[in-house]
Symmetry: C2
Subunit: 318 residues, 2 copies
């Protein structure tokens, strides 16, 4: 496989592990990079401070000599400090999200580090391109965790954004197997980013109960909460039902945020409270029924891609 993404990043397979709150650990990121994809750390794992990120980068380096990325949500008040750490530690790629790509892109590039911005729409894709990023992750409404206010799905976003920008585009949201992987390419992408599929890996340190809940989820098993104050896709559970009920009663946002409190995602993802925690994952959870090694996940997708294409050709090719 050879796309602008594999060339740019120096990776074997155009498969990126999404930056996931709490559980994008060195073990997972290194496993993805070692298997030929691009692993990714976040600023939001463990103690969520710069020292933790520094340690996580160092540990990842111990576990792999392949490229990996660090995701920095620009909405974090100390985003700049995390970027400084990632630059000082000379990571290969920084992906920014949830903010203005114009702010740090040139600065990051000046350090010789590749930059990606995560966008949910054509307009923001163009803005990222104008800011000078090297590539774009275009994330559809199917994606887990923090989501955009608009609801543009992967199926409609990818053909439109790839037509609107010249940069290579990585599709995110709703992809967990070879079918989704190939579909992303057919729609115009040159790579995919997956989160939920990698949660369901042996190397991911997410709590067993959270993994079990994903394995049990059906196609309708996730829902968007916080539609008015911060859309987030989570597994349906007691917390999501409560939040939706508060929203539907028009409870003031401050009150809802107070009732939610803090630590909810850690409670679900790390501590296994899948009923009262914020069990962030993508809508494609319904397709994923078991845990596999990162290498099995990546090899299975890459190995089946051509036969998926061939099956479609049989139907379409006469």
């Amino acid at each position: 496989m050879k796309t602008r993404i594999t060339e740019l990043l120096g990776i074997r397979y155009p498969i990126i592990q999404g930056g996931m709150v709490q559980i994008s650990t060195p073990e997972l990121a290194a496993a993805v990079s070692n298997a030929g994809g691009l692993g990714q750390l976040t600023c939001t794992t463990g103690k969520k401070d710069t020292q933790q990120l520094r340690e996580n980068i160092a540990k990842t380096r111990e576990l792999t000599d392949k490229p990996f990325a660090v995701n920095v949500p620009l909405i974090m008040h100390d985003a700049e400090k995390f970027i400084e750490v990632a630059l000082a530690e000379k990571v290969d790629v920084i992906t920014t999200s949830a903010g203005n790509p114009a702010k740090f892109t040139a600065y990051i590039k000046k350090h010789g580090v590749k930059v990606c911005h995560v966008v949910p729409s054509v307009k923001l894709g163009k803005k990222a391109e104008a800011a000078g990023v090297d590539f774009i992750v275009a994330e559809g409404f199917e994606a887990g965790g923090h989501n955009a206010y608009d609801d543009v799905t992967t199926m409609t976003l990818i053909p439109q954004i790839t037509a609107a920008v010249d940069l290579p585009v990585v599709a995110a949201g709703g992809i967990a197997d070879a079918r989704g992987f190939v579909a992303a390419f057919v729609l115009g992408a040159e790579g995919v980013q997956m989160g939920t599929r990698f949660i369901m890996s042996k190397e991911c340190l997410a709590h067993e109960k959270f993994k079990e809940a994903i394995a049990m989820a059906t196609d309708t098993g996730t829902v968007i909460t916080g539609r008015m104050f911060g859309p987030t896709r989570v597994l349906k559970n007691k917390l999501s039902a409560d939040i939706l009920s508060w929203e539907n009663q028009c409870m003031p946002t401050e009150k809802i945020l107070e009732l939610i409190g803090s630590g909810r995602s850690e409670n679900a993802l790390v501590k296994g409270d899948v009923e009262e925690g914020s069990a962030m994952c993508g809508q494609i959870a319904g397709l994923i029924n078991s845990v596999a090694t990162v290498q099995e996940i990546i090899e299975s997708i890459a190995g089946q891609a051509l036969s998926v294409l061939e099956q479609s050709k049989q139907l379409l090719g006469r």
Copy 2:
């Protein structure tokens, strides 16, 4: 192209024209069937009564000798009467939606007419299969007009539903060009249904102002209104902003429905009031910038399918 859908329906291309409120006229349905797809009338065009449907079927027969379908939303209180008309007029296919497929499927099949049920989830797909339908239209959250309460997108729905049922599945929602068409096949479908793309045809009698509004729409140009009482995807306009504002104020549903009143979709689609009418269309509106003939639309998709596959193979095949 040869799939179970083309074989079952006796059509050249596995492309179905969605049943669209107000504008699924004989002219459009016949044009689609004549171009090798499956055209479709609805009970909700014109006077919305059985006499209108009878006339529309007769007129369609004058315009084509190819198979076509009639869509009957089972939520209509006189659904049974419409089905009787379609059976008496010996249409080729009846598609049912928005209701329980167990109710009429066996009865329709007894008359030698093929039955399809439109579903938004795996569970309802299995239910339709158990009811004995001949095929399923699986419609994602991207789709225009009346939508499901859950938000399962085409990208996640198609691989899951095709894995769960043995019947052939037609993908609907978010498809308007060869990329979307091929992606649907890659995801497991054996045909596609398109609505918005066919609104943007010369043969569709939708108002010019409505077509202009679709041509101008961007990827974020549609929105779901009626989330609590009847989700409907429409172009963003004054009416949708008003409804969302009423919903966000927790105005009682009865009051919102009273403010909306009746005739809003006719106002937008037929009379061209794209600001205060209910301008129902799919999220893929952003991809569609111009009007073409039905034949151009279908031939363009069918003609480009193989080259879209080939482009993906170039990236994935080394």
